[in-house]
Subunit: 163 residues, 2 copies
């Protein structure tokens, strides 16, 4: 059956593909009416792209959808979405996000919640392990990224919207 | 002198370039230490891109900057930035945004403000005229976009962060 576990499996495969390419192991799948319409993964290392996070890559790969189509979508992502990706989800009125894990890095989940986006966190240990495997083996790259986007961790306290 | 008016002029030139390409006339310029480091414009029509808004295009074209570089940047944009672009500004800790106008479409300015991003609105009639010129001549495209991102207008009430 095509349930959350099934689609998260596909997102994890995207993350693994990115890892094999030498990139950040974060994957995403966009699902409409129970069918995958696009997939994506982080392209920071591979394309030197600062905007092609996994979720952005999946949203871009889906092409130009109309409002009704976006409203039928669920976005699956292996890691809690950052403010940019959360903003894209809100911009296009995607109503539901399923997150692999949010313990290694908490994104802008509060921003999603207060904009009526339904959030499901699967606490999938495979997403966490993939991510930690990369950050342990590529601490310089990751330290650079964390220094850059360091305040995303503050979202844990809802600071994106409340400070 | 290279002041806000000077850099907004460059952003308007980017918007005009997009209009000449048949695209949405929204332009952006990223400035670091008083020098332009990248420029961009909306690529929805030209590239069928749903993520390359003007601001995103400029941020992407600047390449991979470090935290200290982003902290020295000001982003100029002819139109108030949407939730996605505002999220990118917050993600990369860009401290200041100069906006051409926000009367035709109000973006996620409240989201920027509560994350300590300084906002300057120039109320530049040229930005408004360029934008209205496009929307009047391309009402179908614009109606489609508005239907998709209709709730951005609600940001006017701070709803992105308060509802």
């Amino acid at each position: 059956m095509k349930d959350d576990a099934y689609f998260m499996e596909l997102a994890i495969m995207e993350a693994q593909k990115s890892l094999e390419e030498g990139g950040l192991p974060i994957g995403s799948v966009l699902v409409k009416d129970g069918e995958v319409i696009s997939q994506g993964h982080n392209r920071l290392i591979q394309n030197d792209s600062v905007i092609l996070h996994a979720e952005m890559d999946a949203i871009e790969n889906a092409g130009r959808l109309n409002y009704e189509d976006y409203r039928k979508c669920t976005l699956y992502t292996t890691l809690s979405p950052c403010p940019m990706c959360s903003g894209a989800i809100i911009l296009y009125n995607i109503p539901k996000v399923v997150i692999g894990e949010n313990t290694t890095l908490m994104g802008a989940e509060n921003f999603l919640k207060i904009n009526d986006v339904e959030i499901v966190v699967l606490d999938d240990i495979r997403c966490r392990d993939l991510f930690l495997k990369f950050t342990c083996n590529n601490s310089e790259i990751w330290d650079e990224e964390l220094a850059k986007v360091g305040n995303t961790t503050e979202v844990n306290d809802g600071n994106y919207c409340n400070r």
